[in-house]
């Protein structure tokens, strides 16, 4: 129990620390976001011939960014975090004229949808291909798959994504080239909408899948080969256990352990790669909004996106920490377990 509390506590510290660093950048960068916004307001006022009142401008900038440039860094950071925690107020998006939280919150399910499916497919492929290679170690299947995996691994996912877009989207016209669902469809529980969502999501999911599986399966193969030579596997075979049981309960289960943490932490990598994937497929998820925000110099939106990704990374690591004890009985709450 102490272990879990400790981990959660560590995660919170990590998150707040990351947030603070981002916030400092936000504030201290010469010509940084807040200064840019203040300068923008000042020049507009000067053009319009209105008086330049520092306090009034500061308040206006605070409404837009959630940060009052008149306050010090620590004080401002406290206010920023306080607003986030209590009012979910990340400031107001400049480009979309909506609170940042609303913009990102609306986009989040879509990002989770494509990243989630891509990850699940990727993990499954990692485990299956790795085990398959190890099971057929040294045969043509093994070397063939190794070449395939290495090839897939060397193709950057965005190149794969563009290739898919060109072939499947434009040349063959099988899949839509942008958007989250067909314009004509009524969002809800109806076949047209659901099929539309699946079709629009297919290519982003596939390209996420490519990031997911290639590298891991070589590691999986190495682990599996090591476990195939272990005494307990030989013992299991001689005890007459079915191949199925040996594959799942003995081989895959033990081979997954070393790569499990990597897989879970990889979640955050997949989400942040969404910035590019969603841009390529014009799929308005969190990544897409972040990129738009970047182009529109919509700093509050970008800052919100940072918070989102930082939170996601910390949560992924936390999940990896907390669940490792479940899949490997030797780790986790080992200290509290009775040993004799």
């Amino acid at each position: 129990m102490r272990y879990y509390v400790q981990r959660v506590f560590q995660a919170i510290i990590t998150f707040v620390g990351g947030l603070f660093l981002t916030y400092c950048l936000y504030r201290l960068m010469p010509g940084g976001p807040v200064q840019a916004i203040v300068a923008d307001i000042v020049s507009r006022r000067v053009r319009q011939g209105r008086p330049v009142d520092a306090q009034e401008i500061g308040a206006q900038a605070e409404r837009m960014t959630g940060i009052n440039p008149e306050h010090g860094i620590l004080e401002g950071f406290y206010e920023y975090v306080f607003n986030i925690v209590v009012y979910q107020d990340f400031g107001r998006s400049i480009g979309f004229a909506d609170p940042v939280f609303d913009v990102l919150f609306r986009a989040m399910p879509w990002s989770l949808f494509i990243s989630g499916y891509g990850l699940i497919l990727g993990f499954t492929a990692t485990v299956l291909i790795g085990t398959l290679m190890a099971w057929n170690e040294g045969t043509k299947t093994d070397s063939g798959l190794t070449v395939f995996v290495l090839t897939m691994n060397s193709i950057p996912y965005y190149v794969g994504a563009i290739f898919m877009l060109v072939v499947l989207g434009f040349e063959w016209g099988v899949l839509p080239t942008g958007g989250r669902y067909p314009q004509s469809a009524e969002p809800g529980f109806n076949p047209e909408f659901m099929i539309g969502v699946a079709k629009h999501g297919a290519m982003p999911i596939l390209s996420t899948f490519i990031i997911g599986f290639a590298g891991g399966s070589l590691g999986m193969r190495a682990n599996t080969v090591r476990i195939m030579g272990s005494d307990y596997l030989r013992s299991a075979r001689l005890r007459g256990l079915s191949t199925n049981r040996i594959l799942t309960r003995y081989l895959a289960r033990n081979a997954i352990l070393p790569i499990y943490t990597g897989l879970v932490i990889g979640i955050s990598g997949v989400f942040s790669s969404g910035v590019i994937t969603e841009q390529i497929f014009q799929y308005p998820g969190v990544g897409w909004y972040m990129f738009e925000g970047l182009q529109l110099q919509d700093y509050p939106l970008i800052m919100g996106g940072f918070v989102f990704f930082a939170g996601l990374t910390v949560i992924a690591i936390l999940i990896a920490d907390l669940t490792y004890g479940l899949i490997d009985p030797r780790a986790g709450d080992a200290a509290s377990r009775e040993s004799f």
Binding site: D231, L238, L257, F340
Partner: protein, 374 residues
């Protein structure tokens, strides 16, 4: 013929009933340097309810012999020859055991000729094994209990009946059933793991238990206590035990017979009393002289000159001749078979032409207390 027909060779006090018969067993590995023979034409009979200790130095083929008994030689090793298993008369077979392998009508099983599913049944139900790497023979992510359950299930045995039997086994092995069963392997000590593994090997009441260095990596006290438990298990469950070890003094008091392996074959087999007190093969004598003991002078201990043979290039004739002090030209050409020494009742056999000379010329003294008990 190295060994006489065992069924006929009777002594006054016992009838020898063969349970496993090994003939011309060879294990071959293809290596880049050539063919390696890691079991070289082994002939041996194992008798019902005996404890046979197989001793030899590292790389003498002991483990290969153990694996060969279950046809469990790992790829790319190729096992040839004959291993025949004689099941007990069907009358005494316990109810849960699936029909014995007498489909052919005769009451014997050619182990190397079984189909995969028949082999799966023979293993663990008739002949079981405890491995060398006992510490790692349990799945680290599974509780001990599930190892028993999955084994019972895989052999379609009756769960309650078998688990009752496991409780008996745990009692005999001085293990706390509840505590051990709900533990993961890493939560048990080495000795507990080892004993749980013996129980796992006996869960389906096999007739033969092959143990490959079962006490390696255990402390001396635990070794001794496991040895004494083995003797009880043999008496209680009518087991035949093949005990592979490199520790001669450990098994001296345990075994009914000792087989000494050198260069991938048996060079001497006999009852501990006669084999240890008056070994007939020059190698066995040298081995006994090299044993350390608390009471002997260091000067008395002599290492065996030379090094062990290369499995790719086993010496012609007697494989021990390059290291043997009394070898002559005949030993270089002719390969001696196991023949009776002493009175020829099959109690003591050695593969040497000059056993009398060896006994006369090569001296050794026994020091270890357990050996003097013999």
């Amino acid at each position: 013929m190295a060994i006489g027909q065992p069924q006929q060779s009777t002594t006054e006090e016992e009838t020898r009933d063969t349970i496993l018969e090994v003939r011309n067993a060879r294990v071959q590995f293809g290596m880049s340097r050539g063919q390696a023979w890691v079991l070289n034409d082994v002939d041996l009979d194992i008798y019902r309810e005996e404890i046979l200790a197989v001793v030899g130095e590292s790389g003498s083929g002991k483990s290969m012999f153990a694996s060969a008994l279950l046809d469990a030689v790992e790829d790319p090793g190729v096992l040839s020859g004959d291993v025949t298993y004689y099941p007990e008369d069907t009358g005494t077979v316990s109810s849960d055991e699936i029909e014995t392998f007498d489909a052919s009508g005769s009451n014997s099983v050619d182990v190397l000729d079984l189909t995969t599913s028949e082999l799966d049944r023979l293993r663990w139900e008739e002949i079981s094994m405890v491995f060398q790497g006992a510490m790692n023979s349990f799945n680290p992510t599974m509780k001990i209990l599930h190892h028993f359950h999955e084994t019972i299930r895989a052999h379609n045995a009756v769960m309650e009946e078998r688990m009752e039997h496991v409780r008996d086994l745990f009692d005999s092995l001085h293990l706390d059933f509840e505590r051990v069963m709900k533990s993961y392997p890493h939560e048990l000590s080495g000795g507990m793991k080892q004993r749980a593994l013996i129980a796992l090997a006996l869960v389906l009441e096999p007739d033969v238990l092959v143990m490959d260095e079962p006490t390696a990596a255990l402390d001396l006290l635990m070794q001794r206590s496991i040895i004494s438990m083995l003797r009880n298990l043999r008496d209680e469950f009518g087991l035949t035990i093949v005990f592979i070890t490199h520790d001669l003094s450990l098994v001296a008091g345990l075994a009914d017979r000792i087989g000494v392996m050198y260069a991938f074959e048996f060079i001497e087999v006999g009852k501990p009393a006669s084999l240890l007190k008056d070994a007939a093969h020059p190698y066995t004598r040298a081995l006994l002289r090299s044993l350390p003991s608390l009471t002997s002078d260091l000067d008395e201990m002599k290492p065996i000159a030379g090094s062990r043979p290369d499995p790719v290039n086993i010496p012609t004739g007697c494989s021990y001749h390059p290291r043997c002090p009394i070898a002559d030209d005949r030993c270089e050409i002719e390969d001696p078979e196991l023949v009776d020494v002493d009175d020829g009742d099959g109690d003591h056999q050695a593969a040497c032409f000059y056993t009398d000379q060896a006994r006369a010329e090569l001296e050794y003294t026994l020091h270890s207390e357990s050996m003097e008990d013999m």
